[in-house]
Structures are given as structure tokens and as C-alpha cells.
Symmetry: C2
Subunit: 556 residues, 2 copies
């Protein structure tokens, strides 16, 4: 179908409008005015930088990634205050996806941030939610286009669970709270304040790491390259989503509607933390995911276990037997065909896996695990395989609430992770077929009395849906080029992973014909999705440098 017409906002017009309207912005009562004034200062500073950059960017020679890193670092050390202020002002706008008014304030703020850098910005609207913020910055001599994906919404918050009680009032600390970090004031308001911040300091706020800081890091990297007269090697587009933490329910549809904007050669996703070892991370895929719920039935009502125990079939026992039959002692799934469709890893993936850091013993120690599943395979190998996980069990009551009954039902909830080559529906069908072969009459509704009387074993199996895995081949020229830039930018310290174990619907971009690669930057111990979410500044600075090197040098 044809894309909806977009309200294109061209740079000069927008910059002109900004300066006229910033003081009477209707959104400006609380955050708005403060933002408006502060942004004016930031934007003012950037505008100074912008002109020489636009004029001279293409003329400079291409630096090496190490040189780009050095340039970004120098710029950053001269502008830490300004960068931290841009981030903390962004963090101060509450960003729960369902909070329509505030999520749209975030989008409006992003438009200002992007347009201040001369990025052509389009809002791709979603009714009642934050729009997808799309941006485009063309570099006349670039032959490749890279889309940078991040999200500006955050997980819901329970302020009472936060040490400082206010997830949208960013707090600076001298270290992680667990390590005894104390509150310290943000340093002064001067635009300069060279190297004012220690690498170990952390900013505490919702989305400090997931996922606002990568956006600010990208824009700061762009500012740095311009300030240092380093031209962009690629055209840059951004897709900034406002409901990722709500499950991205509208992303695919919205991008389909605006497909004409999305021409590109690569998508880089900034979501997620770096490797648990603390080293930088580049990853090329993630697993898909389906969910299902299984309910096994006993008698039509819970029965006295004295009068009927030994006679009435016990659904908790029947469910236990069913689940136990699904996997062997090593965790190998015994469902017919379960591993049949797995696309084998290529040589590049195998080599990368072998080179990944071996930190399983540390994890085992931290998590109190004496013996992992997997018959001796490493965690990084195991997450390259499909998995079947019992995520919950429920039948009648336990502990002090226990009643002496034969329960009427027992429920299990399962999630299954898929790898490349596996179809979600087919995977569900395999599991349903396994349940039938275990002697169950598998249905999708509460059994009727007739069904109960006719079938000794009944399982309601509800498919909750899911999506497939996505993986970009590591031996593509673009993959090799990106790895090279990031390796060069990090002195070879980067962990290269064929895929992560978790699930993000990156198949959406694959469907758009885009190879995608993950380049996360934030610290691993960031309390993502939980209380006391935080960003370690050293990681933030390093992330700016990596993004700067990509913008300056990615080429294939």
C-alpha cells in the first residue's frame, strides 16, 4: 500500500521556527521551558560547530578508526558537561510507552535534538502512542546508508523501589550503589568543564542505559566528528521507537507504511548491554521466541485427597510426567523434530564462538549453579540452539495454603527460543504433536463434560504466538567491515557474538531486506528493566567513540 504523506521538516525552516517558538511551546510548562532554555544553549553550541562542518566535512581525508576515536575523545573531554546535560535533560522526561502525553513529549524533544544537528526528521505516527521518530542525514559522497535503531521509551517504574525514589530525576553517583556509590552533584553549568566526570561515575534514572543513552552517544559522536572536521563515511538514518518496552506492537506495520524512507545497507541496533566481561560487544543475531500454556485436567472439581486419592487422576502428576518427558537429564529436548530445522552455524560463526570469552565458571559461582545443563557445552554454544523452558507451574496450593485435595487442574507455562531456520508455528505444532503422542487429547478450550468422560488425559494447549529468530551472516562484507571498524576502535578488545540468547523482533528489519548488527554500548550491570537503572560514564564515553569510528570509517 502507498505510504502516508509525511510532514517533512527541512532543516532551515525548522531551525528558524525553533528559535521563534521555543518560549511559547505549549508543552513547556514543566520540563518544556527548562528543556527549551537548556537545549537552546546546547543547540547554540552545536550550531557554531555545524557551519564549519557542513562547509568542510568532505574535504578532510578519512582518518583511521583509532584516529576517529581519538578525535571523539578529545571533543568529549572538552564537552562532558554539555553531553551529560543533554542526556540528563532527556532522562527527565518520563517515558513509559503507555503515558501518551509524556511519551509524545519525548518524541518532540528528540525532534529538537535531531534537527539541531541538521537531521531531516519525520514523525511516523502511532495512534495513542509515541511515534517512530525517523531521521535522515545525507553525506554527499557516501555510497552506503546505515540505519541506527534505538528506543526512547522505558520500562514501567515503581518509584518506591528506587534508592532515590524518583526514576525521572537523574542522580549522579560516585560508583554503583552496590559498590557504595554516593550522590554527587552534577558539575557546573559551564559549557566547557574539560574532563569533569570520572569514568566510574554513574547516572541513575529510568532509561539511563535502556535505551536513551545510545541516542545521545550517537548524536555526541556526530557533533565530535563535525567539530573535528571529520566527514561521515555513510549516510545516517535513525529509527527511534517509542514502544519497544511495550512489545513493539506497531513497529512492523508502521515501518511497512513508510518503507520508502527506509532504503539502507545496514541497520545497527543499539539496544542492550555489552558483554558480561565488560568488554565491548558486536552481535549478529538473536533468538526468536514463542510462548505456550498447557493445562492438564483432573476431576471436574478438586476432590478430598483422602476419599479419592489413589483413584482420581492427579493432574499435577500427569503434568509433571508430561514435562519430564520433554527433556532429558542434560536438557536435550526430546520432542520429535525439535532440532531438525536449525540452520547450522557457518565457519565465521564457529570461529567467533570459539573466540568468545569463557566466563561460565564466574557465572556459575555468581548464580549458585553447581552443574549447568547442556552436557558440558558452553553457555555461548547453548544459546545458538533452540531451547524449551518451563517458566512457571501452578496447581492448587503449596506451603501453608496447601489443602488436602486432588487438584482439578495443573498449569505450566513454557517459552521456547528459536534459532535461525525455525518457524514459530511449526515449532508449536511439534510440541502439540508431542503432547498428543504422550496420550493427551489436546484442545484449545476448557474441556466439556463429554470430553472429560471420553478422554483419560486432556491438555488445553494455548499458543501465545511469537516470532522467528534473526541472524546476519558474519561473513558478509558489511559484517566483516563493521567488525573491523569496531575492533580497530577498541584495540581489539571487542567480543564478537554470532547471536544473543534473548529475543528482539529484529526479523522486522530482516523482512525489510536489511542486514542488521547489534552494537550495544552500556554497562552490563545497568539494572535494565528494574529499579536503580544506571549508566556507567566510562561505557558511555567508549560508546561515543565506537559510534564515531563507525560513522567516520564504515566502508565496504
Amino acid at each position: 500500500m502507498p505510504p502516508r504523506p509525511l510532514a517533512l521538516r527541512l532543516i532551515p525552516e525548522r531551525l528558524a521556527r525553533r528559535s521563534k517558538t521555543s518560549k511559547r511551546s505549549p508543552a513547556g510548562r514543566n520540563h518544556g521551558n527548562r528543556e527549551g532554555n537548556s537545549l537552546k544553549k546546547i543547540v547554540g553550541a552545536v550550531a557554531v560547530l555545524l557551519s564549519p562542518c557542513l562547509a568542510c566535512g568532505q574535504k578532510a581525508g578519512s582518518p583511521t578508526p583509532a584516529q576517529a576515536v581519538q578525535a571523539v575523545r578529545e571533543y568529549r573531554m572538552e564537552n562532558e558537561n554539555r553531553i551529560v546535560r543533554e542526556l540528563s535533560e532527556f532522562l527527565a522526561i518520563p517515558n513509559i510507552a503507555s503515558d501518551t502525553s509524556n511519551i509524545q513529549k519525548n518524541a518532540a524533544h528528540l525532534v529538537e535534538m535531531l534537527e539541531a544537528r541538521g537531521i531531516e526528521t519525520h514523525l511516523l505516527p502511532i495512534t495513542g502512542r509515541g511515534p517512530v521518530v525517523f531521521g535522515k542525514l545525507i553525506s554527499p559522497e557516501a555510497k552506503r546508508t546505515v540505519i541506527f535503531y534505538a528506543h526512547y521509551d522505558g520500562q514501567p517504574v515503581d518509584p518506591a523501589a528506587w534508592t532515590d525514589g524518583a526514576p525521572f530525576e537523574p542522580v549522579l553517583r560516585s560508583a554503583a550503589i552496590e559498590a557504595g556509590g554516593k550522590r554527587i552533584p552534577f558539575t557546573g553549568n559551564g559549557a566547557g568543564a574539560r574532563a569533569a566526570y570520572n569514568d566510574d561515575w554513574r547516572i541513575y534514572a529510568r532509561s539511563a542505559s535502556d535505551d536513551k543513552s545510545p541516542i545521545v552517544a550517537l548524536l555526541a559522536a556526530l557533533d565530535a566528528l563535525r567539530a573535528k572536521a571529520i566527514p561521515l563515511a555513510v549516510n545516517l538514518k535513525v529509527i527511534l521507537e517509542g514502544e519497544e518496552e511495550a512489545g513493539s506492537p506497531n513497529l512492523q506495520r508502521t515501518l511497512e507504511l513508510h518503507k520508502n524512507l527506509l532504503g539502507a545497507d545496514l541497520l545497527i541496533t543499539a539496544d542492550g548491554p555489552v558483554h558480561q566481561s565488560g568488554r565491548p560487544l558486536v552481535f549478529f543475531g538473536n533468538r526468536g521466541d514463542i510462548g505456550l500454556d498447557i493445562t492438564v485436567y483432573g476431576p471436574v472439581r478438586a476432590l478430598h485427597s483422602g476419599h479419592y486419592g489413589n483413584w482420581a487422576p492427579n493432574p499435577a502428576m500427569a503434568l509433571s510426567r508430561l514435562l519430564a518427558a520433554m527433556k532429558d537429564e542434560d536438557g536435550r529436548v526430546l520432542i520429535a523434530g525439535f532440532y531438525d530445522d536449525v540452520t547450522p552455524l557457518g565457519e565465521a560463526e564457529k570461529k567467533a564462538l570459539a573466540a568468545m570469552p569463557e566466563n561460565d565458571p564466574d557465572l556459575e559461582r555468581e548464580l549458585g549453579i553447581a552443574k549447568p545443563e547442556g552436557a558440558g557445552k558452553k553457555l555461548v554454544e547453548l544459546i545458538m540452539e533452540p531451547s524449551l523452558n518451563v517458566r512457571g507451574l501452578r496447581s492448587a496450593y503449596v506451603g501453608s495454603q496447601a489443602q488436602n485435595v486432588v487438584p482439578d487442574r495443573a498449569e505450566a507455562s513454557l517459552d521456547v527460543r528459536l534459532v535461525r531456520g525455525e518457524d514459530p508455528q511449526k515449532k508449536f505444532d511439534q510440541i502439540a504433536e508431542f503432547i498428543r503422542r504422550q496420550g493427551f487429547y489436546a484442545i484449545d478450550h476448557e474441556p466439556t463434560m463429554e470430553e472429560r468422560r471420553a478422554h483419560a488425559r486432556i491438555a488445553k494447549v494455548i499458543y501465545e504466538g511469537g516470532y522467528r529468530a534473526s541472524r546476519t551472516a558474519m561473513d558478509l562484507p558489511v559484517s566483516q567491515a563493521l567488525v573491523k571498524v569496531v575492533e580497530d576502535a577498541t584495540e581489539g578488545s571487542t567480543v564478537i557474538a554470532p547471536a544473543l540468547g534473548g529475543s528482539v523482533p529484529m526479523y522486522i528489519f530482516e523482512d525489510l531486506g536489511l542486514p542488521w548488527i547489534g552494537v550495544p554500548i552500556v554497562n552490563y550491570d545497568n539494572h535494565q528493566h528494574s529499579s536503580d537503572e544506571n549508566l556507567r560514564l566510562g561505557h558511555f564515553w567508549r560508546g561515543m567513540e565506537i559510534y564515531g569510528a563507525i560513522l567516520a570509517d564504515l566502508n565496504w
Copy 2:
């Protein structure tokens, strides 16, 4: 230890005191006055009957059980109003065991009811709870003594769940609520009103069946025999407990303290309903019961199932495997030694079992069970064996609450029914040993980090205690004599069961050297323990007749 001195209340003194104090009873504000006045009428009527009985009881010849039944029936048909009024006034006193003030009102009311029949009454006190009400009625020529056990407390109530909203305001209905029974008024207040009540009418109130009505039926049977000048064949003692529904925590200790009162040859327990077929029931035992909770551990905290699934051991799966190993597909327990200590049934028990009604197909139909456990054995046979039942399961969340995690723990609650010959502690030890042999490190506390790191499988196994089964041999002379009387009183329609499947701590009486036999009278569909508890009057009348026949004819 020596028994505590008791405040003996002798009949004449008590009767005299009653008439003087009934109008200024401090307990009489609400129920008290009404009870006092009504009881005065009942007691007045009984007093008329009492004198001739005391004078002439021994002189009459012993009737056959059928004759005793006929006499009780005639008396009942002439006194239905009076009997129903005594029951409904008793039901109007709230009787939750923990409601100290009301439970003691019940005890005081019982004392009046017993003493009105000339029964010597002792209160065996329990601090903060309702006392055990003990009564004794000696028949000069009787050589045997029978103790009648019942309880006057009831299960907690949720008035909102009751159709009539007030569990302690008895309501008369023309049939069961499920059968469309309508409210009808209790018939007038006249003392006579011959055959005023239909057998299918039901009284709705807490304890209408469990367990106040058997007490009233026994006393009405006593009144009837006296009215018809039929002497008692046995000395009668009563033990009326006030905290059975709270688990009888003080019964054994209290009876031990007052052992000198308890000399007897047989105890009859009135608790429970008749057979599901509707036929009368005599039973000779019940199963014991132990409870245990098993918690299996995974990682020290719930982990992301994408990042760690396939590697982190899943406790829900480990628990399923453990439970599935405990029983085979037919429900046979696979724990070593589980059936070793079972005392085999004797010939009399086997014969009784074979003669029991076969209503399994009806139950299967009613309960929606296509195939019971037990490899074809009947329900009545299966409850003669020990059973192991999963009464509850819990791990993380299911359904819409499900989270994509490897849970940190999974819990199962089990109850195990014991039969004669089995020791509770030994049974628990067998299960704990089985868990160890399945490779689990079995502990009784939350595992420490050191334990987690050292043991691949950890199960916390908590023993909740329990008690042994109890069974009176069916070929004892007293057993045979009681069966004969009840069979004769019911035209051979009584179901004779070697034991019930449920658990009541009747071992307490066994420990006192007393054989015990169950003679319940109330309808099976009485909603015992639930809302809308009720008593079908036809069963109540028949119960009076059975108790009358026992009192008049039991002899061995």
C-alpha cells in the same frame, strides 16, 4: 499424671439452678434469652418424660432393633417440631472454634441439653477454646459402656458465599438448593405437630450436618426410648469436642488428663456423612495422613530465559522429573518400601469390601473421569492402600502473568495417606530417602550459597507432621454386634466399610485402649465444610432410629 479435679454437676442441683438463673444469664442478651426460654419448654417436656423413665426403664423387656426403630419413629412423628426446634436453636449459636466467646456459649448450651436428660456433665477445659463436654449416663443393669463422640464446632464461614447470607440463622427449604428447594417457614411452635416435616426438607446452617445434628439425634433417640419405656442396653458416655475443625490440637492431651472418666468398651464416632449411595454406613477405620513440602532450587535468582535457557538448570523441570519418578502410570507408588508395612486386611474386611456397593461408574460420570488410577481396582479397594498425592505445585508464574525466566525455585506440596501398620515418621523417611536416591541433596532449610555451588540438585523437604491410621477389626465381638444392630435397624440396607479414605485422629481413642466404629447419619450431599451446609431431615430421622436401636440393643 493425676487428673485435674472436676466441677461435678449433679442433676438435681443443676436442674434447680437452671430454673433460678435462666432469666438473668449474662450470656443471654441475644441468643441466650431465646434459648433459655425455648430450652425451658423443651426441658420441661423432657422432664415429664424423665421421671417415668427413671422409674420404669429397667423393668421393660428388651425390644428388637426393629421394635426400637419403630418406637423412636413413633415418638419422633409426635415430636418433630420440638426436635427441629432444639436443633435449630443449637445451630443459631455461632460455633467457629476460634470464636472463644461463642464456642463457650455452645458448650454451656450443650451442658443444659445434656443435664436436661439427666446426664452427668463435666467440662474438660481448654484454655481459650471450647471445652470438651463430657457426659455420663449410667444404666444400672448395663454391663457395657459406649462413648459417643461428636464435635460441636464448625468450619469457618464466608456468609457472602451462602445463598441465604447468614450461616447461623437456620433456614428450612423444601429440597436441596441445587434441586430448586424453596424457603419454607418452620412449622408452628406447638409442642406436638405430628409428622409436620417432609423427609426431603432440609435445614441450612453451619454444622447442620457437621456435626451438631448427630448430637441432637442421639438425645432425641434417648428421649424416645424413655418415652416408650425402653431401657438402655449400655451405659452412655459422650465426648463432645469444640475444636475438631481446628485440627483437634488439644484433644489427646485433654483426654489423657481426664483418663479416669473414659472407661468404656466402645467409642462410636458420629462425624461424617453416610455412603454416596444414600444408604446408611458403618465404618471401622480411616487412613492416617502426613503432609510434606518439597522445594527444588534453580539459580539463586530467576534468570532471563533467553540469555540463560538451555544452560541454567530449571527447577520446575527438575521437580517434574522428581514427582514423575514417584508413581507409575497406574498410580502405583515407586518409593522403596512404600507398601511394606501395610497390615493386610482380614477375611471379614475382604468380605465387607466385596459386598460394598459398586458406584464407581456413577462417580466417574459425575466427576468427568474417563479412567481412574489404580489399574482397574475399585475406589473402595484403593483407599485401603496408602496413597501419595500431589496437592499443589508452584513455580514463578503462568498464564497472563508468565515471565520469560528460568525460575529460581519450584515447590510441590504432597499429602500421603497411611493405612494400618504404617508409621508416619518412617513414611516420611522413605520419601526423603527416595528424593536423595534421585540425586538430590535433601535439606530442611534454604540452601546456602556454598550448598548451591556444591550440589547440582537440592531439595528442601519439610515434614509437616501427621498421624497414623486407625482401624478396628471387623471380627471383634463388639464389631459384629454393632453391625447386627444397625443392619437390623435398617432392614439390611447398611453399607459396611472396613475404613474410609479420609483422616480423623481416631488413633487418640485407640491409644486410650478403645475400639472405635463410625456410625454417621447425615446425607452425603451436605456441603460439609463449604457454604450452604445442610441436613436432609429424612437422614436425620433415620439417624435417630439407628442411634435408638444401638442404645436399646447393643450387646455382646
